[in-house]
């Protein structure tokens, strides 16, 4: 079987596949990431939450090698690594599905799945690729109208399916999904979330960036919250309430408006001091 899961690779099965310690990244004077810690585990879906500008996208870019980190340590399978280019990230086994999917609309599903990593030497081994594509999509329980029609004709959810399946062609152990459901309707969102569960059941570590709390409730095992470039806590979904997570995202307990309101309630001195 050419498409192996990480479990068949023969390495010791470590629970934590990718961990970050004190990762920082600045763009000029702007500190986009400030000493961030994060752990991504095998067979688990970790949701990365945060308001706009919290540093989620920057973190993804650090992990996928688009923007290397300035400081901090990255461990992959307990080995210290540095990721300085997208190619290095891919070689380590970190696959990223970007928000814009990066599909070629004029090519068919099979061609998109294997784009840039086609089988065959000079000529394309189309049948081999198509066979593997079918097998892969079958394992993901994905339904597509045709593997040989241009992806332009597919729905948003189906296109997302193709993009996610493409991430799996390189046999990764970590899959990062950037806002996979942002542009999708209810039914298509469900389709994609099923797919995310299928990835987890294959023993992959999934990091899903999202704004949608419903998605988090539905598939995530843990929620890692970022706020203003720092990590603001990791919450197991089972034992945390919605409100606690939202509070961590918005920083409700420390935000100016709520402090003012609290002060007003407790004494009434707030009126004159502001």
């Amino acid at each position: 079987m050419p498409l192996k899961t990480t479990a068949t690779r023969g390495r010791p099965r470590l629970r934590s596949v990718l961990s970050l310690h004190g990762v920082s990244k600045s763009f000029g004077a702007v500190r986009a990431l400030n000493s961030v810690n994060l752990e991504v585990r095998r067979g688990e879906v970790t949701a990365l939450l945060g308001d706009n500008g919290a540093g989620k996208s920057t973190l993804v870019k650090v992990l996928s090698g688009v923007h290397p980190a300035d400081a901090g340590e990255l461990y992959f399978d307990d080995e210290r690594v540095s990721i300085t280019s997208p190619a290095e990230a891919r070689e380590l086994g970190i696959a990223t599905v970007y928000q814009d999917l990066a599909l070629c609309d004029n090519l068919d599903v099979v061609a998109n799945l294997f784009l840039g990593q086609e089988h065959g030497h000079l000529t394309l081994a189309e049948e081999q690729m198509e066979g593997q594509a079918r097998e892969l999509l079958r394992q993901l329980s994905a339904k597509l109208p045709s593997l040989r029609a241009p992806v332009a004709g597919l729905s948003g959810g189906q296109r997302q399916t193709v993009a996610i399946a493409r991430a799996l062609v390189g046999d990764p152990s970590v899959v990062i999904l950037d806002e996979p459901t942002a542009a999708l309707g209810v039914e298509q969102t469900a389709e994609v979330l099923n797919l995310v569960e299928a990835l987890r059941d294959r023993g992959l570590a999934v990091l899903i960036i999202t704004h949608n709390m419903a998605d988090v409730e539905a598939v995530a095992d843990r929620a890692a919250v970022m706020r203003l470039g720092r990590d603001n806590g990791v919450f197991p979904i089972d034992s945390t309430t919605h409100e606690e997570i939202l509070a961590a995202i918005t920083g409700a307990m420390e935000n100016a408006a709520s402090t003012r309101a609290a002060r007003r309630r407790s004494g009434g001195t707030g009126e004159s001091s502001t």
């Binding site: 970007y98 609309d105 004029n106 990593q117 049948e127 329980s141 593997l147 040989r148 059941d201």
Partner: protein, 416 residues
């Protein structure tokens, strides 16, 4: 994959409904209608257009579809047709080469001067002319990749520069007659397949088609994919055989199947194969579809652009050599006039999209067939070139409108 825990039952059967449907005849027809509705037109409009044009011209002048005229047509279209193959390449990556006419003119004049005043042998002249084509393509490709100048500006500059080069090469005379016994002149004017060889070639093509389709079906079955049965393949090979033999028979009633025509069709088939079945070709389509996606997928985009510009200029030079052979002359008017526009129009009329990523080498063949048919037919009707230009322009306009409408329809049926 037996150790993968499955929480959901796996979908039974194939994830590929359309393919399974397409194996039956009615299913295939339904699929085709759906695709056309969604703007995946392929070469359907051009085939319909060609039948219309032939019908109209034949009803106006019964000599139009005569064997003698078609034999002439088949050779006449070769030089510009070869240039149009190159245009297809650049259009596939959503670029353009406006200088193909001048490039062909330069190649013509190199051949003329080489064979006459320089006294080079024919192979040397041909190699020099083609090498100049490759160099020009490299310059275009480099300028595009390095400086990001839009290709239509680069090649517009190239058009002027090459025109100057052509005048310089030809010198004061301005016109050179090629020796009539020269190989390339004989090839373009008098080289025909013997009747029996034409029938044999048609048969060989059908057998090769049958063999390759059979091999494809066998490989598909080996990988557990649905494939067409032997009978279905045999039937389509038989249809092809009858069609090709009919063409051979009809042309054999006059002078026969010309060698330049065979060369042209062979080039089309080879380029189409390279585009569809090699990694290079996949890269060309990917770049035309989405440069950014191709780059992120690890395709070397710069090399793809470079190869396409080189291919286009090379084919333009080859077209120029064939044109010189056809006219047995090279002059300051070689490659000027409507050569440029006809080559670009042929690719577009044949169904290659101006927006990149859609089309095939066959559109050069179909497109040039339309253009030359109109030109031939109107000449037979004793119409002036004024009318010819206007009608060709109209057909090009219709082709571009169809392309745009198809693009809009694709956008309506899910992002294009």
């Amino acid at each position: 994959m037996s150790n993968v825990p499955a929480t959901k039952p796996l979908t039974p059967g194939s994830p590929d409904e359309e393919l399974a449907r397409g194996l039956s005849l009615r299913g295939a027809a339904a699929t085709m209608v759906a695709r056309v509705r969604a703007g995946q037109l392929g070469s359907l409009p051009i085939v319909v257009g060609l039948v219309l044009i032939w019908g109209i011209l034949q009803s106006l002048n019964s000599a139009f579809l005569s064997s003698r005229d078609l034999v002439n047509l088949a050779t006449e279209m070769v030089p510009v047709g070869v240039i149009a193959i190159g245009i297809v390449l650049v259009l596939l990556v959503a670029e353009i080469d406006l200088s193909v006419g001048s490039m062909s003119g330069v190649a013509s004049s190199i051949l003329g001067v080489g064979l006459t005043s320089r006294g080079w042998s024919l192979p040397v002249s041909i190699v020099v002319a083609l090498a100049v084509g490759v160099v020009v393509g490299l310059v275009y490709g480099f300028a595009y990749v390095r400086f990001r100048v839009p290709s239509f500006v680069i090649t517009l500059a190239g058009l002027l520069a090459l025109l100057g080069l052509q005048l310089h090469i030809l010198g004061t005379g301005g016109s050179i007659n090629l020796p009539f016994q020269s190989g390339i002149v004989q090839f373009m004017q008098n080289d025909f397949l013997p009747p029996l060889a034409a029938y044999a070639l048609a048969a060989a093509c059908s057998v090769a088609f049958f063999g390759s389709r059979l091999g494809l079906a066998r490989r598909r079955r080996r990988h557990g994919l649905p494939a067409r049965g032997v009978l279905a393949i045999a039937v389509s090979a038989l249809v092809l055989l009858v069609a090709l033999e009919a063409v051979a028979w009809y042309l054999n009633r006059a002078r026969g199947v010309s060698m330049p025509f065979v060369l042209f069709v062979a080039l089309v088939i080879v380029v189409d194969w390279a585009l569809k079945r090699t990694k290079w070709g996949r890269g060309v389509y990917a770049v035309g579809g989405s440069v950014e996606a191709a780059r992120r997928a690890g395709i070397r985009v710069s090399l793809t652009y470079l190869s396409v510009f080189v291919g286009c200029s090379f084919l333009a030079a080859l077209g120029g050599l064939l044109a010189a052979g056809r006219l047995s002359a090279a002059s300051i008017s070689s490659g000027t006039g409507d050569v440029n526009l006809n080559a670009i129009a042929a690719a577009v009329i044949g169904g290659t999209s101006l927006f990149g990523g859609r089309g095939s080498a066959y559109s050069a063949l179909l497109g040039i067939l339309v253009i030359e048919s109109i030109s031939n037919g109107l000449t037979l009707l004793n119409l002036t070139s004024a009318a010819r230009f206007m009608i060709t322009g109209l057909v090009l306009f219709i082709a571009v409108v169809v392309d745009s409408l198809a693009k809009r329809s694709r956008a309506l049926h899910g992002a294009a």
